[in-house]
Symmetry: C2
Subunit: 247 residues, 2 copies
Amino acid sequence: MSIHSLPIVSTARPPVPVMPSFVGDGFNRVRLVSLSTALPLAERDTLEPLSRRVSLDQKETLFSQDEPACSVFIVTSGALRLYRILPDGRRQVTGFAFPGDFLGLSMLDRFAVSADALGPVTACRFERLAFRNLVFGQPGLMMHLHEITGQELSRAKDMMMLLGRRTADERIASFLTGLQDRYVRIGRSSVTLELPMGRLDIADHLGLTIETVSRTLSRLDRDGCILIVPGGVRLIDQARLDRMSAH
Amino acid sequence: MSIHSLPIVSTARPPVPVMPSFVGDGFNRVRLVSLSTALPLAERDTLEPLSRRVSLDQKETLFSQDEPACSVFIVTSGALRLYRILPDGRRQVTGFAFPGDFLGLSMLDRFAVSADALGPVTACRFERLAFRNLVFGQPGLMMHLHEITGQELSRAKDMMMLLGRRTADERIASFLTGLQDRYVRIGRSSVTLELPMGRLDIADHLGLTIETVSRTLSRLDRDGCILIVPGGVRLIDQARLDRMSAH
DNA sequence: CGGGTGTTTGAAAGACGTCAACCAGAGTGG
DNA sequence: CCACTCTGGTTGACGTCTTTCAAACACCCG
């Protein structure tokens, strides 16, 4: 379900349209990439010719943990969950990927996580070796990609703090405001957040159970902090959410 | 301190065992570098004048979170704790740094964590800008540093799994075996582990309280799994610890 | 309308946290 | 040489937040 079809749409400012139909449209695809990762023009022009389009349906897997990493990806539409699983089935969702996000950028021999589609997904695929060779000749680009990895590392440390030291309420609030920030960065509505992932995904991301996630969201709704809508949530009391996220 | 002392361990794949005592031993340290991704002599000579030795006493701070990151460091002796704190004082120790570890390698504008010494520490310090400029001209070196950051990211995801989905017992066991692995890699005893950090540091690293850490260690001791000795622990039942760590 | 999947809600249980006391070793100083 | 204090670690009793178990609910789709 798209955000535009949500019953409640009357946001203060009209949400930036998310280019509804860029699939198969090379120009828009490139624009999307540049918008989200702030890749300089020269750099995206270098990368573009190497890319090949990939499409996934819901629940299809883009790659699996520990499988030889022979590709690097950039998400162009849709969303994916990134996760690891323990032998006994316990799962940790390390993050979610949205348009503009790189996958496999650290270019280790094997993927560090598994990735599968939360809904229809399109992505650009680069041959790892070709990508590597290209990047080798572009110190500026390589440094930029290194910076992106550094930011991911910083966010990973945020997650450690969240998982190690925050309460359920704080985790949920932090998750919502964090998602809001990411949506703003890729030009989506910042008031009504689409939640392409299920409650179980959120739970496995925040180190909680599905019941605790559901209960906490319900309570935030009752308290007038958020409004649960089909397919997402609407952030009502921004100030209180920010206070709870307490960075 | 010369570049020849850079303990760049080839981390691309199977951990290369590193000589037992390289601290203060110039010759062995040179060998260490030679084991890494062929750093041409010219490059080392270029990098050498950039490094300056730093010494810290126990509890002194090397750098603080959010302060402008104008340096990159390599630990040469001792150990540090890396952490973030919330406004209300809750702390998350994101990791510990040992000889050979880089600090500030992601080269963002500001440090992502604070770092202070668990005991006497020495490190090599590089001016961030000079380091950056040098690395710019050495794609192989830059790629290698990127790889190291990628591995740190992968370990961060291990931590997420640990913090989000594992029990106290598993966290402690995983911490001990993980430390063991790191010690092996830098050529230290792999049976009796020195614990340069206090119980509180361990607790804040594993998302537990000091009491839970103490209790869990005591129980593992009673069960004959480990032996608590002054300043560290001795791993007795390796098999059981590995099973508990359950990767 | 019925079945399947995903979400919500309630009651009970448990793992870990909190509070508080005690203990041990290392300095320190009389 | 032995109190004395300080810091860090251990242990116990109790409390609570989150989980677990269970059931109901809602929505989608054939």
